[in-house]
Amino acid sequence: MRRVLIIGATSAIAQATARLLAADGDALFLAARDRERLQSVADDLRVRYQVQTETSVLDVTDYTAHEGLVDQVTTTLGGLDTVLIAHGTLPDQKACQLSSGETRREIEVNALSVISLLTPLANHFEQQGHGTLAVISSVAGDRGRQSNYVYGCAKAAVTVFLGGLRNRLHSAGVQVLTIKPGFVDTPMTREFRKGALWASPEKIAEGIHRAIVKRKDVVYLPGFWRLVMRMIREIPEPVFKRLNL
């Protein structure tokens, strides 16, 4: 049994992952900003799997709450073995181009809040000498594209931060998992046309669960994105800058 903290627990991908963890018998501490929906997610897990589910309302940009979170979780669950950070927003790229305020807000939710949360969490895990820090980044962080580079830049920051953290915590025996999903059919992408490249949150959750169990470092989900992104990264900048991506 793991004792798991999920931040952004009402996210579709997080919910699907929580079910797989609860099916393993894990105890869950769920944090999200919408009280009603957070409660409905917690009830589902408790009724379905008869596991311990605790909740705490959290807006991730409320930084004063970050430091105390570890204590809050370890006291209620009796410890903390695994963390999944799943919150995020998909910026309106055009709106960001017109407003630096909008751009800063998006970077804040998608990058700064994550980095701030990871700071006390990393220290906790380093000290206890075991555990898993799993964070959802994105394939979008692998290269800047005109259609989505504010989001991409925030995810790139998270990816690089996690790379450094993994390097630092490896000797402490802590797993740091960078999760890079491709297109996923969730509320975040409700306005998009869905095609063959799209995956369900359940499918992504299976990949996350597997990666946690197998103590992976970086996963692309579904796996074919690793190849796609490698090709995209290989395109020379003089060519890339001319593409409509």
Partner: protein, 440 residues
Amino acid sequence: MKKYYQSWGRYPRAEQEVVRLWSRHDPFPLDRIDGKTALPRGNGRSYGDSCLNDGGMLIDVRGLDRLIDFDPETGILRCEAGVLLADILKFAVPQGWFVPATPGTRLITVGGAIANDVHGKAHHQDGTFGRHVRCFELLRSDGSRYLCTPQENSDWYRATIGGLGLTGLILWAEIALKRIGSPYIDSETVKCTNLDEFFSVSADSDQDYEYTVAWLDCTARGPRLGRALFSRGNHVNTVPDKLPRIPGRRLSVPIEPPITLVNSLSLRAFNKLYYARQREHRRREIVHYEPFFYPLDAILEWNRIYGPRGFFQYQCVLPGNDGRSAVREVLERITASGEGSFLAVMKIFGDLDSPGILSFPQSGVTLAIDFPNRGRRTLSLLDQLDEVVRAAGGRVYPAKDARMSAESFDHYYPQWRELLPYTDPILSSSFWRRVTGVAA
């Protein structure tokens, strides 16, 4: 947002935009429907066009998939409307509870089960699914919410059960599950050499068996007309010592063949073999509930075998004593046509009332038969069947229908206008426009 959603029969084709709902606390997505009509959408296991809304929107509610509360003492479950019966079984069976009135697939949503007031092998004892629904919440496009029970807002309750998704969005429901002793079924398959035998075995079984249904050989003619394998069973109360195999990995039909694989040759061969496979007159065995209730769920996307033109299912009920001669006539017409398919089932419904205004089941015998779509040939056969069913005072099941005429619908469900005060002004379906002539 545009997505190609089909119905299970893959006929007719329809195009619609899809809006997904993710939380029961979300408002009605009126802002994203912009002036079109919309239709709630469950898991798309309806065969015809009652889950399609050509030219309009679908509101996909499968994201409402949370369990809300469960009392393991009383078996009362509250869950969101997009929860699949399969999910309920997964968590409830180990605790000794089962889905009442379960249909022949567990891959349907609770909302879909209510909106078609579905029935199953237990109809003669348990009635329809709606009878086990204690309450639900309905969200209308004007934002109003109704808590519906047999007592409170009982008119909305009756309109929404079997209401074809037209009265509003069902957000969640409370269902009384059924107590079981184990996941296993003590089942018996009895060979019936003709229709009369089917009726007599059925009459003998109704009292002692909670589950009954017959697989019908719709190629057998003359003295063998209506020959069938009659299956009946009860839940086993104690877990057997030697456990039967639980079905493992699922098969799937990976591609769509260019033409239907079901033709009169393959059909005759299959039906002969299937019927002959059982040598003895009766075979008794303990089986897991999955193959007993949901044999087709073991083959994912089996609907593809009918090729790109899709297929029809025709399900009718023929009431009372006239039932027998009408069934004979229906079967004669089918065998004479050489159409029909592997999937043909027959069952006697009980006389328990169905709660919905438009619920399909009524006391009598029901027949459900698949037909590959061969265009006009198939359509005219089905029209002929309608004549027989109409003359016998029966009805055809909307959940399976893609072609009945407005006139036939009016015959089968003369009460349909009672639904009109409860239909939501935004909601409509391809089926509803077709059978009522109500414009989009």
